[in-house]
Symmetry: C2
Subunit: 190 residues, 2 copies
């Protein structure tokens, strides 16, 4: 409840994100969500079929904000290395500036909801980062490995360190972020 939400649906999504990120799906009763959103408990069910649908809608909404944040600023003509570094930096900062979104996505993809989602979709393949990496492999700048491996090498360290950052295990500085990005590129390049 940081600023006045325009409509109730928005208020519910905003409150949910906050509470889910801090207490997990099962630690966030609808009663609490409705209280934070300043609506009646029943109102949640006017906008979402049930709690699961609310969670899915929230995922959809966050994903819709993350995707453009990633791809924005890519230059198709620029060298592969430059594009990879740029995307990594963008995603890193998106998550560091949006802790709730990060925690939510982590929880989502670790729960039955997200696992089912990933299994059914597989549409992750069209993510721009993979097109860039594939181009790098063709040009013999990047290791010629399966898409999924390149993806893991690229984002694995970032995701792990971002999590550690939010759990308080370490405190990331701009310098450290740069070092991680550079090192991740070292693991990708031929």
């Amino acid at each position: 409840m940081t600023n006045k939400p325009i409509d109730k649906r928005e208020a519910i999504l905003q409150a949910s994100l906050e509470i889910f990120a801090e207490n997990g799906f099962h630690g966030s009763p609808t009663s609490q969500i409705s209280k934070v959103a300043n609506v009646g408990t029943g109102t949640i069910y006017r906008y979402f079929e049930n709690k699961d649908a609310l969670i899915d809608a929230l995922h959809e909404e966050i994903d819709g904000r993350l995707r453009p944040a990633m791809s924005e600023g890519i230059d198709v003509e620029a060298p592969v290395r430059e594009n990879v570094l740029r995307i990594l930096k963008r995603v890193f900062h998106f998550f560091l500036e949006n802790p709730h979104e990060f925690r939510f996505l982590e929880m989502y993809y670790n729960s039955p909801y997200g696992i089912a989602k990933v299994r059914s979709e597989k549409e992750t393949c069209e993510r721009p980062i993979l097109q860039i990496l594939r181009k790098g492999a063709e040009r013999q700048v990047v290791k010629d490995l399966p898409d999924e491996l390149l993806f893991g090498l690229c984002f694995g360290p970032m995701l792990m360190l971002t999590r550690d950052h939010f759990t308080g295990y370490l405190e990331l500085t701009e310098e450290m972020i740069q070092a991680v990005i550079a090192a991740s590129w070292d693991s990708l390049k031929l």
Copy 2:
């Protein structure tokens, strides 16, 4: 319930691991655990103060098996690179051969239980991998970065890809594992 457990405590731990890994902490009622363990519901509370204590004990038990599996076979005199590759390979295989343990640990460290644990302990610092990496940094073989970053670079891709493997997003082969380990080393080395 694969083989006859010696005592009830063991049976409960074994059943818990199986059910937690497959259904998550909240999807695993004590009634189901007791059924799989072939004990009464009340018996669980003879061995563990409550469900949280059971989860913590299970974590303790798994951690106790993972640690030696990691450090076993390290040669203090061997080159840094060789030791790092060896540890990575060991951990990779430990998780691939113990899916339940992997899923459990992932869930544990993503839940309030594990986060509190990590925050309070910090004893991860004495893990052998870090001593090896530190030695590598001194000898100018490995990048001179904070321990936590080296740790993230080393294990981030492995953890992410292992998860993807178990969720069915990809199927890891021995060849792919080797490639990931080699690439991870590239990100660590100077």
